[in-house]
Amino acid sequence: MSAPQTIIDKLWDAHEIVRRDDGESLLWVDRHYVHEGSFQAFNMLAKRGATVAESALTFGMADHYVPTRGARRAIANPEIANMVRQVEDNTAKHGIELFGLDDPRQGIVHVVGPEQGLTLPGLLIVCGDSHTSSHGALGAYAFGIGASEVAHVLMTQTIWQKRPKRMRVTVDGTAAPGISGKDIILAIIARIGAAGATGCALEFSGSAIRALSIEGRLTLCNMSIEAGGRCGMVAPDEATFAYLKGRPYAPQGAAFDAAVDEWSKLATDDGAAFDAEVSLNAKAIAPIVTWGTSPEDALPIDESVPDPAREVNADRAKYLRETLDYMGIAPGSKLTDIAVDRVFIGSCTNARIEDLRAAAAVLAGRASKVPGLVSAGSTLVKRQAEEEGLDRIFRDAGLEWGESGCSMCVGINGDLVAPGERCASTTNRNFRGRQGPGARTHLMSPAMVAAAAVSGHLADVRPLLTGRKV
């Protein structure tokens, strides 16, 4: 009988081609997703005259630069148009399947991968994007890589890595209605800090994690990187298998059943050791919003922002002063007194169908007091939302119903929050200037963004859900 193992170790061992004496391992990559930003890596290949080793395991997506408002093909900015063209040219040149701008399956890589069944339990997945951690929600070992590593994977289908430390975050208990995967991950980041999981792979476990849908788990794992963890995962279970069954690129029929047998062995064994353990009680988690410029600056909605005058640590007081100044918030303000200028519902964090439903449940029959954009995570999610009539709810509330892409999360397609504007956003990063120079971002769940929209200020969604089906 072998020693009990964590899911992290099982996945690692299954992909280890060789381990050098110095501790670095060469790992096999099962899926490599590329996008417009991968042009730097393709240029490195071109410079070396190199080819793509495994084009059948490589998939291209157009997401970071695609327009999400107005006409899709008529990209006015020639530099942005060039970015979309480069991913088309590079994938065509190397025989890589592309989910391109005109493809009905187009969308954000971290939405499309799971949706198409490209992402499966037990796979090792990389992409030149830090939110690749998302795919761990299905029980994959998935992490973001830099351009040199993208080039290496393109050329060899392998990557050198050092085995990370293992951290388990256990969330037990039943979360209150209106509490989502986003609130749970923000609570975790607030607890352990933005560098709390640096050097670690994360496993999320516990009854509250099991109770999350696959969409909720994707949100959770998506923001592992915001806690410093390069990858985060949830062991696959019946919910995972039900989600994947029949997806286009997943195994079909008997092959699927055989795969489920294998995937069922991936869960962490009883008694397996972790390097660090953190636990939270889901019952104690309230809807959470960020007030500052790091995701760790997160508080329950019924609290007030810190007051630097009451902070004893001088460095911390300086941070608070500078951050509140950037955010344009008076020290000690109640969070619910902070007025917002706009809302954004979208991104790889929170633009799946369940996210849109949660926002629509709050917005139905109500008007948004501020402008806002809703951008579905994929074109298929957009279609489904339209079939369910969600687009009408958003439009009737006064919000713009856009196309799918990374959009206003990172703003590189031109959809920006104006300098000084305050945006309630379902995205993952509240960094200074993230949504545009001078933009002020508050991170929260889709339901909480909807609550901010109908209130005109940061607001607790729970009273707005009374008598509604959620």
């Binding site: 081609i17 096999w28 395991l57 037990g122 830099g146 290496h152 200037g433």
Partner: protein, 205 residues
């Protein structure tokens, strides 16, 4: 890639934790190739105002630190996005070493691929070095990778770095240079693995 041995030069103190890659290189410059002068837009929105004028308070704009070869910061430098261009911007500006108590995992991986040294010291040591540089801006630091030391005036600090990364920096190796000798083992792994984990192979188009 150039070998890294010792680095001596001005050291710019950036007394902030969680300096993220969006700050190091704002996303709108991700369209740039490296040949476009990406070092010019390092820390762009911290260094310049909306009209492109220098912000005099940002340390890199101060005369003593304008030509810095070293950056010293608080914990979790380079957190956030995987953009390797953040490393290009630092390197092409002239920075060869960043000293901090911790780094974003993806950032430090990208750094080693490009010959940028990430030297880890404790929180207290980082605070001490930052304070020394504020007092004596002209004081050059010497970072010795072989010895793993930072000489700062009359103090010498030891720093840590993953030994694999240290070896690679000392030798100027990058991943692609290292891989050729493993081609056969990769092919053997693939053959065995694809027979065992048939479900892991996507359906043929």
């Amino acid at each position: 890639m150039d070998k890294v041995t010792t680095i001596t030069g001005a050291a710019c103190p950036i007394d902030q934790s969680n300096v993220n890659t969006d700050q190091i290189l704002p996303a709108r410059y991700l369209k740039w190739t490296r040949t476009m002068g990406i070092g010019k837009v390092l820390f762009n929105d911290l260094r310049f105002d909306a009209e492109g004028r220098e912000k005099p308070d940002f340390p890199l704009n101060k005369p003593a630190w304008r030509d810095a070869k070293i950056v010293v910061a608080a914990r979790n430098f380079g957190c956030g996005s995987s953009r390797e261009s953040a490393v290009y911007a630092l390197y092409d500006y002239g920075i060869r070493c960043v000293i901090a108590p911790s780094f974003g995992d993806i950032f430090s991986g990208n750094a080693v691929q490009n010959g940028l040294l990430t030297a880890i010291v404790s929180d207290d040591e980082a605070a001490e070095i930052l304070a020394t540089l504020q007092r004596t801006p002209e004081l050059p630091l010497t970072v010795d990778l072989a010895q793993q030391t930072i000489v700062c005036g009359n103090r010498t600090y030891n720093f840590t770095i993953d030994p694999v990364r240290r070896t690679r920096l000392l030798n100027g190796w990058d991943d692609i240079a290292l891989i050729e000798s493993y081609r056969d083992r990769i092919a053997a792994f693939k053959e065995k693995d694809q027979a065992e984990r048939r479900w892991a192979v996507p359906p043929a188009r």
